[in-house]
């Protein structure tokens, strides 16, 4: 099933993590079977220091969002026909429920990750909020994201702990 995705988020990308000289993304989704980049959102690729926004299906990109170290806030887009944030395109079918979504990662197994800050992240599928990620510290003092839409807490999967900003 080909579905429309919308995203709203606020972030800064500082640079690439492990396996540098490849990619950095504050958000990416990937087919778990290994097809690369069915939809990648906000990507830094290769040696170009631009932060590519709205990188869709490996075929379209928009480098108007700025560069590293720039605070970027993206409101949710609501028009499917003009929706530069949707993660599907005519060349690929992107199936919600089978694709993996990475925050701070540019690869489904998190071998490529991104130095940056995330202030909030919301993912909508066909207009329904399915992820509402809030930066927080859990009761065990672990820094991560709490998904208000599903009541799930996510911490860093690669052993490198996140650093928290000030309490709000």
């Amino acid at each position: 099933m080909n579905v429309w995705y919308d995203i709203a988020m606020k972030f800064i990308i500082y640079g690439q993590g492990l396996n540098n000289n490849t990619n950095a993304a504050i958000f990416a989704c990937q087919d778990p079977n290994g097809s690369p980049w069915p939809g990648t959102f906000v990507r830094k690729s290769g040696s170009n220091n631009n932060v590519y926004g709205r990188y869709i299906g490996g075929t379209a990109k928009d480098n108007t969002l700025g560069q590293y170290n720039t605070l970027i806030e993206l409101p949710v887009q609501t028009s499917p026909n003009k929706n530069v944030t949707n993660l599907s395109n005519s060349g690929r079918t992107h199936s919600y429920g089978t694709s993996l979504f990475c925050v701070f990662g540019a690869d489904h197994n998190a071998k490529e990750f991104t130095y940056g800050r995330l202030y909030y992240f919301k993912l909508f599928v066909e207009g329904t909020l399915v992820r509402d990620m809030v930066p927080c510290i859990d009761p065990n003092n672990v820094v991560g994201l709490y998904d208000l839409a599903n009541n799930v807490f996510y911490s860093s999967p690669n052993g490198a702990a996140f650093v928290a900003g000030q309490p709000v």
Binding site: G116, L118, F162
Partner: protein, 50 residues
């Protein structure tokens, strides 16, 4: 605002109808959860991958 003595450290509790917080010096050590997260979670401005 009231002040009290906690062990060797000076603690100040700030209370209102909306929220309460405890500081030791300038450091926030506890904040009542009145937000959207479950009890025990502290919402922060951002998280950073370093």
């Amino acid at each position: 605002m009231t002040g009290t003595e906690l062990a060797a450290a000076s603690a100040i509790m700030v209370g209102s109808t909306a929220a309460s917080a405890v500081y030791i010096g300038d450091t926030l050590v506890w904040q009542e959860n009145t937000g959207r997260l479950p009890r025990g979670y502290t919402e922060v401005e951002y998280i950073e991958s370093t």
